[in-house]
Point group: C2
Chain length 710, copies 2
């Protein structure tokens, strides 16, 4: 029983009453078994041990239970009302339920926003009722939910003749009802204990994020699987992910609608716009949410997480009867960041002593027992016991055939006898393995990838980062700078650089001067070669009109500056000079780009990527949602190019990494402190000789007109 079981209605949240009800009405119940109202009632009846109130306009009983003509006629409190009446009647029915004090409704009916027109109007009415009365709504256009922990089968996709789902620790939330049922069926068949399945449908009130936030707090929920097309309430999704980190409950996300065509498909059947999948995935990585590549991957990870085991390290033992399969498992380990270390001589000797003799296999890791092991049960048991305790590895991946029952038993017992994660690669599913809860997979990649995810959950969980205190003095200085721009929404380069300097972003040495003479003096002060740039908010394409001169040295700057002023006066006569920017020329072995962009879902996102002019060719970027700490920023910067950015020859040196991290941190603070910033593009960051400096700056404030700013 849940912790809420002893409290009364007034003390229980509407979400509790909706999702863990103590009394349930079904509006639109039917005695016809194959109708939705019949399927639903049969399911409710077989699972729920609290009071059930079927509502039917004329029938006195539904499947032997006293029926009422309307929800208002029910003479008792009702926590949950499931609504299975035609779309056009649904709003009135929900209104009536709200008036009666029902906690929440599940509207399974279709014919709302997904059909447009009148359907949209009906859905808008549901939304209005929920807002006004506080009644919680799941749906419409969903297939309901099931909560086996409280015996609630408010779901019509599972046929009442099928066995009841198990009271397991996995919760599945899916926007799509049909696909949610599909995946929940696949999950049950894969041996997952899906104790919760909620389909949220059109999400007029409750959405995937809200339901996820509710479920993550439920003590019986150990693993949360989330299928989405559109993520509504992204801030609640992040809050849920943070709670999941604190509670060490794995969350696995499957996103449908990644491609443009798929997004169009998603829009056409949910009527909603999908956000940027790249940003969503980056947020998932930042907050420790596991991303499922496919439906199968989601189930594979769920099966491993359901064991509740954690890994103490990333060293995997491979135990195989076939050398070839062992090699494939080792390949996959490398793919997901695990190692298959060769055993020490001591361990090899100890393993060899357990093996049946004479032994023609290998004990180096992979341990190739050859198929002779199958006839030596003691050895099989002994090896698993040994590996279960062996300090040189942290997890075990085993290969077997489904017909070698005794050997499979040895693997199961080995799994049950150790706290190390174990996965089995097998030629077919084996009921005994499913019952024991040992994750079994039919493909080498699938047998290893979940171990990799478990290692991440165990060892690489990010810390929850709270937003740092705002530096009000800095904010004031930044706003003074914006004010000095006099309503201009696009900052000039030197203004942007001033802002960057406030936030610790390394910039080129430079000086804004008024005259060619001052430019020469400034060049002397800066030293080395300089560039001069004609600064004017009206001049977007300097180089087209001669407003940019490179590679000058003090002494020669004045003449070039004079020439530049003349050229611009000729080429762009309407433009007023704000100043001449004299700037050091910085060498670059490598160029990066960073900045802030606004995501439709997640708001300001800090982006860092490879390339200056080649940023779109390389398309290698990492993203972070503020707030984040320096450790996270470093990890993300160093993750570029699969980690080669800092590890490969001619990659970033430590001091250069520090400088890029400083830039990323500064952008993160800026995004939090200055919400009026709409977009920042620092391109390029020029990197060489231990320095990484912003060589250009584009800062756009909110309210700027769209379009090309370069």
């Amino acid at each position: 029983m849940s912790a809420t079981a002893t409290t009364n209605v007034a003390e229980r949240s509407a979400m509790d009453r909706l999702l863990a009800p103590r009394s349930i009405a079904l509006i639109g119940a039917s005695n016809t078994a194959y109708r939705i109202g019949g399927l639903l009632f049969a399911n409710l009846k077989r699972a729920f041990d609290g009071p059930l109130y079927p509502i039917h306009p004329s029938d006195k009983e539904i499947m032997g239970v006293t029926a009422y003509p309307s929800i208002s006629d029910v003479p008792h409190e009702v926590d949950l009302a499931v609504v299975a009446v035609a779309a056009k009647m649904a709003p009135d029915v929900v209104e009536e339920a709200a008036a009666k004090g029902v906690g929440g409704v599940v509207v399974v009916t279709s014919g709302f926003a997904e059909v447009g027109g009148e359907g949209q109007a009906l859905q808008d009415r549901l939304a209005e009722i929920s807002r006004r009365t506080g009644i919680r709504i799941i749906g419409p256009n969903c297939i309901g939910y099931l909560n086996m922990h409280n015996g609630v089968m408010a779901n019509f996709a599972i046929d009442p003749s099928n066995p009841l789902p198990s009271v397991g620790g996995t919760a599945l939330v899916s926007q799509s009802g049909g696909f949610g049922s599909y995946i929940s069926l696949m999950a049950m068949r894969a041996g997952l204990g899906v104790g919760w399945f909620v389909s949220t449908g059109n999400e007029v009130d409750c959405n995937v994020a809200m339901v996820s936030r509710y479920l993550i707090e439920r003590p019986e929920v150990k693993v949360l699987l989330v299928c989405i097309e559109t993520l509504r309430n992204p801030e609640i999704f992040i809050e849920t992910a943070e709670r999941a980190l604190e509670l060490d409950k794995p969350v696995v996300l499957l996103k449908a609608g990644r491609s443009e065509e798929a997004a169009r498909a998603a829009m056409s059947h949910t009527g909603s716009i999908t956000g940027s999948t790249d940003v969503l995935y980056a947020v998932c990585r930042q907050y420790g949410v596991h991303i499922a590549e496919t439906m199968q991957d989601m189930l594979d990870l769920g099966l491993m997480f359901e064991t509740g085991k954690r890994a103490k390290g990333k060293r995997m033992a491979v135990l195989t009867t076939s050398g070839g399969a062992g090699v494939l498992l080792t390949d996959e380990a490398a793919e997901v960041g695990l190692t298959v270390p060769e055993f020490s001589e001591k361990v090899q000797a100890e393993l060899e002593a357990i093996m049946p003799q004479p032994f023609f296999g290998s004990v180096g890791n992979p341990i190739d027992t050859t198929s002779q092991i199958v006839a030596h049960q003691d050895a099989a048991v002994g090896i698993m016991e040994y590996l279960g305790k062996c300090p040189e590895i942290d997890m075990i991946s085993c290969v077997t055939w489904d017909h070698t029952k005794d050997y499979v038993r040895a693997l199961i017992d080995g799994d049950l006898g150790t706290d190390k994660p174990v996965s089995i690669l097998c030629t077919a599913t084996v009921p005994e393995v499913s019952e024991a809860g040992t994750p079994l997979y039919l493909d080498p990649a699938r047998a290893v990838r979940p171990l990799g995810a478990l290692a991440r959950q165990s060892l690489d969980k990010p810390a929850v980062v709270r937003a740092p205190a705002k530096d009000e003095a800095r904010i004031a200085r930044a706003r003074a700078l914006f004010a000095a721009c006099g309503g201009r929404k696009v900052l000039m380069e030197h203004e942007g650089k001033q802002l960057f300097a406030e936030y610790g972003i390394p910039v080129t040495r430079e000086k804004l001067v008024a005259t060619p003479e001052e430019a020469d003096a400034a060049a002397a002060g800066i030293g080395g070669k300089v560039a001069i740039k004609y600064m004017s908010p009206e001049l977007m394409h300097k180089s087209d009109v001669g407003g940019l001169r490179l590679g000058l040295e003090a002494g020669g700057v004045k003449a070039e500056a004079d020439a530049m002023l003349e050229d611009v006066a000729r080429g762009a006569p309407h433009v007023a000079l704000s100043g001449i920017l004299v700037q050091e020329m910085v060498p670059a072995r490598m160029e990066l780009t960073c900045g802030i962009k606004r995501d439709l879902s997640f708001g300001p996102i800090v982006v860092v990527g490879m390339g200056g002019v080649l940023v779109e060719v390389l398309a290698e970027v990492a993203m972070l949602r503020p707030p984040f700490d320096a450790g996270m920023a470093r990890k993300v910067v160093e993750s570029l190019c699969d980690g080669r950015i800092a590890s490969a020859r001619r990659g970033l040196e430590p001091a250069e990494v520090d400088a890029v991290v400083a830039a990323v941190m500064g952008l993160g603070q800026m995004a939090l402190e200055l919400p009026e910033i709409s977009e920042i593009d620092v391109n390029p960051i020029r990197i060489a000789n231990g320095r990484a400096v912003a060589a250009d700056a584009l800062v756009i404030l909110e309210g700027a007109e769209g379009g090309e700013h370069h």
Copy 2:
């Protein structure tokens, strides 16, 4: 019956006698059912309708068949002898078989090279016998083979109590016996018709490539699945791939031992060194061999290819009862290069007319019928018939549940009624679907990826390229150039550039001069800014001793050249000047690298990749094995950065692509014409303003000492 059936022994190849025998002996046959000699004989006996000769030292009969004490005692011709005696007896037995005129032997025994020492010596004896007598050998240390087309079950991994494999069109070749059996069992369970399975084991004679070459010519073989760890005879593998292209038979390769750790594992159990997987994969792409990412992927592709269907285009229809599943299928289509185009209004109207009314789904593509379709068999049949003929799509991916039998039947019939490829995503395997041969998968990614592979097989098959005639005059000029280097194996930059110019590789404008005065004149001739470089075969790191000056202009070159000579004389006094290279400075928006490297397996490989100094950070390279044509070179160049290199903003312009393709073609010709070239590194190719020119050149001839050349 094969084409060889009516020819006599003398006319039949040893490979035919080995793999499609008309008479079989089993040396080491046993009446004990569970021994390998018993399992093998039971399998041979139940499948083969030709003469069988069990060999046993004392038993007169094996399982009711007359036995002989030795192979020499068999009074008839023997095509194939299966050898299942202890390793130390095997060489004598094979010698005896050769003396008798047996066509080939399969040695299943273990205890050879894989155990080292004495085992290696035994294996060396087998190799020697094969070379000397011409007897073909499969194994040792293998599990034999099966050829259901000729009733040969020379395999002990399949239990004689199991049903016989089907006489299907799929052939599987695997180096690893254990894993080969594993995957062949999985294949049979997945519904593949594995009519051939050959395990090659230690490959003392026949290897995966040789067996593949044999199988691809067999008319009954429609699909070839190849599992390897080490590829021996790579040239035969390529020959096979080319024949497969000509015959339009798909070949799917699964490589074990991709990671370093996995390569170590592979070495430990096969005693062989694995080559570069990157090169192998590049060769596969070049020759149209499909690369399986996982074991499951291999089977998934095999199932699709077994249909024998081909696609006329890449436009996929998605037919789904669940919007969410449709979106996932659409996502996967984009991943594998397929499209899910929105239907025209005409098609949408025609589809809608077939749907059960009222219709709440979508006909845009994905076609979301909603689950109501399941109750309307006529509509289901009608939709599949319509899609089978619809000119707006080329293939169909369907979603269903395994319990909706009628709907599944409609899908099967739809598949059988159209030549368009069809795949089914389902919640479980369905026997009727397997029987019909319609590919069915349990995951959206798996349901779409094979359609992508089929589209590649149908539409993107590379042409077989023959080596062009050699340009003997050019070869002579190149060799004269090498000779002029006087035995030096590392060419100086200007020498390398002369070679490049011979082969049409665009290079910087440059001139080698003897004196500072000439350098100034050369700079005037070249025009614009120049670099000067101190050329000497002894000077590896010019810039360390001032042997490189950049950004000079005519007039100022002499003084800088004087200074350079002085600096080098001071910094590297032992070095003799070969000349001063005066070279145009070329701007670069982008830098590429290309060259020739030697692969252990495939010999000279042309490489082209992103980045000059960043080549190792970016690690984005494409490779081609010569010969290749300009179309292939262009395709490979344009494939860099997922195709963004030529399509993204600031990517390669058409003229720049042409120049890079010219460089790649030149390198390919050089590799074919000048086998004495050991390695070429053109880094960087500087690219801007429509030009792409080699700005440096490293050419190493065979016989050069190893180590760092830069």
